[in-house]
């Protein structure tokens, strides 16, 4: 491993794992696991000097920020949620067309009087009068939610953090509405939720990112260009 010139973070679980493996395969530089089968390290076949760090998509964002990896594959949603200074921390190298999903604001279907973000503040006012508290928004995207709600002029809410089964919180009564990721909308519909007309916060997909904090010497830059070109043209 001492010969590694460049390290790249690749998702080790979830949907992105298999999809990422497939695009490296297609690019002619397949992932090859090293050492014990449950390893957290791999290599790219046919490309010497690259160390693949297998970890979660969320962890890859932190690794990119701190510069512990040169490159990383992860979702734009996680990048925009986690990094305070996106452009100062990472560079968007290649959009991979994987992991496409929308981060959206969704409210219960029965809120027929609510169609747009603007309606939410009215409802927040009414809700505060009737219940003595703010609307609760369940989400794992606290920062995206705050920024989007502020830009939409909605302030009468509070966030409740939710790391799983966010879409079930309105029916369970632990939140009134949600900000969550959706691909087909099936889960939202099954939970009797609807997306607000202007409630699209982010159209996300996975990208190959480059860290601005990693040590970029000549050989690392060369390997970066090779990987980026292979992934682009495949």
């Amino acid at each position: 491993m001492t010969s590694a010139k460049l390290s790249i973070g690749v998702p080790s679980k979830g949907r992105l794992k298999d999809q990422a493996a497939a695009i490296f395969e297609k690019a002619g530089i397949p992932l090859r696991n090293k050492g014990p089968e449950r390893g957290y390290r791999a290599a790219l076949e046919g490309l010497d000097g690259v160390e693949v760090v297998l970890t979660s998509a969320a962890e890859i964002v932190h690794e990119l920020k701190s510069g512990r990896v040169h490159l990383g594959i992860t979702g734009e949603d996680l990048i925009r949620e986690t990094l305070a200074d996106v452009d100062g921390s990472v560079e968007f190298l290649v959009s991979l067309g994987l992991g496409r999903a929308d981060v959206v604001v969704a409210v219960p279907d029965c809120w027929i009087d609510v169609a747009r973000m603007g309606d939410l503040e009215d409802v927040a006012a009414q809700f505060a009068r009737a219940h003595g508290r703010r609307l609760r928004v369940a989400t794992k995207y606290m920062n995206l939610t705050r920024r989007f709600f502020a830009a939409s002029g909605v302030a009468g809410y509070r966030i409740v953090e939710s790391v799983g089964a966010t879409e079930a919180t309105p029916a369970a009564g632990t939140a009134e509405l949600i900000v969550d990721i959706t691909t087909t909308g099936t889960t939202l519909r099954a939970n009797h939720l609807k997306v607000l007309e202007d409630g699209l916060i982010l159209k996300s997909q996975a990208h190959l990112f480059a860290s601005r904090a990693a040590p970029w010497d000549t050989s690392a830059k060369k390997l970066r260009d090779t990987i980026a070109n292979r992934l682009k043209t495949s």
Partner: protein, 391 residues
């Protein structure tokens, strides 16, 4: 990260002792509320914008807690703990740290950990006297710390409410304007909508459903909405009740049927909120605007004038002060007179102390009724810095 919590520890301690002496001599009991507070109370009352600057965490038992971002709510909770029925007047003073995340960076003008020295008065029935006493005591305190060159800025939330209440508006619009006062951006959009005499979209299934309802018969309307939910197979979720949803549809129906609101109303509100001048001139201008709009805000205005008169008798130089109708829009729990002590310089660092009346807060955090309450807090690091600069 700064290794030392407060620079100039000794100077700050000496200053705090002097401030507390002033408060205690005036009959305020010194209290020390908990630094760690339940997050719920703050998040429900103050909202997400302050949460984004509050250190919130979950402890090992799973409780959501925070480091207090200010001391007004903790002192209010302390009062309710001692007087659950909120039936006894009490006056407290305090000095202690508060904590706020500083998005730009932790620096001297914006420390993440800062100290507030202040007073809170609960249950005083004579609101006028309590208002005057609070302002005068805050001024006396900063003077005792040898601050010489400062000015006062005033606002009055009650005057805004009186103004909105006096306008010829349907109740649903009045409620909206009162609520949106705290959201300047959305308030502006609402006024433009008013000014364009915009009508809601009369097309679409929701307007159609609203059209079948009857504003004079909420019960029947609720039944109709319930039938609609049955037909469409929509379960009631998200904690809003059938009657809340129906009420909003009835508001929509009201807007569909009503004459568009008069455009002049938006102009009058704009004029009103643009008033910012020395108190005497500001009061004159509000009087003129009210007269021009043929509305009566005399009681609220006279209440304000009486406070100013007593402040002047108390030694406040009103010629150097400003009254701005829209001042106080940032803290949602204020309900009446608000004020700030300022020195020269730009931005937040010039704001040495501030306070105001917040009659609604205690009922929201558990008091059985509305409790008259007013307080003021001094940002002690800024006060010390200003005194050392020679202000």
């Amino acid at each position: 990260m700064a290794a030392e919590s407060a620079r100039k520890f000794e100077a700050l301690e000496a200053q705090a002792t002097a401030l507390l002496d002033v408060f205690k001599r005036a009959g305020y009991e010194q209290v020390a509320p908990s630094i760690i507070q339940p997050a719920d109370v703050f998040l429900d009352q103050i909202g997400e914008q302050v949460r984004s600057r509050t250190y919130v965490f979950t402890d090992l038992a799973g409780d959501e807690l925070c480091l207090r971002p200010d001391l007004t709510v903790p002192v209010s909770r302390l009062y309710l703990e001692r007087h659950p029925d909120a039936d006894t007047p009490a006056r407290y003073c305090y000095n202690g740290p508060a904590f706020r995340f500083q998005p730009d960076r932790n620096n001297q003008a914006h420390p993440r950990e800062f100290r507030q020295a202040g007073i809170e008065s609960f249950g005083a029935k004579d609101k006028e006297s309590a208002d005057v006493e609070t302002v005068l005591l805050a001024v006396e305190a900063v003077r005792s710390a040898r601050l010489k060159d400062f000015r006062l800025r005033f606002g009055d939330i009650a005057l805004f409410y009186a103004f909105i209440d006096a306008l010829a508006l349907p109740d649903r619009w009045r409620l909206k304007l009162r609520h949106y006062f705290w959201r300047p951006q959305a308030f502006h959009a609402l006024l433009s909508q008013l000014a364009r005499s915009e009508r809601p979209d009369a097309e679409g299934p929701v307007a159609a459903l609203a059209g079948t309802l009857d504003r004079d018969d909420p019960e029947k309307s609720e039944e109709l909405v319930a039938c609609h939910f049955d037909d469409k197979g929509l379960p009631l979720a998200g904690n809003r009740t059938l009657s809340e949803i129906t009420a909003r549809l009835l508001d929509l129906l009201g807007d569909l049927r009503a004459e568009p609101l008069r455009k002049e109303i938006a102009t009058v509100i704009d004029y009103f909120l643009a008033v910012s001048a020395a108190p005497e001139e500001a009061v004159e201008r509000v009087t003129m605007i009210a007269k021009g709009a043929c509305i009566d805000v005399a009681p609220a205005l006279q209440a304000l004038v009486r406070r100013f008169e007593r402040l002047e008798q108390g030694g406040i130089d009103l010629g150097k002060s400003t009254f701005a109708t829209e001042f106080g829009r940032s803290f949602e729990y204020y309900s009446g007179l608000v004020f700030q002590i300022e020195v020269g310089g730009e931005g937040d660092a010039s704001q040495i102390a501030g306070g105001g009346r917040y009659d609604g807060l205690l009922a929201h955090i558990g008091a059985p009724r509305e409790v008259p309450a007013i307080g003021a807090a001094i940002h002690t690091e800024r006060l010390l810095a200003a005194v050392e600069r020679g202000a």
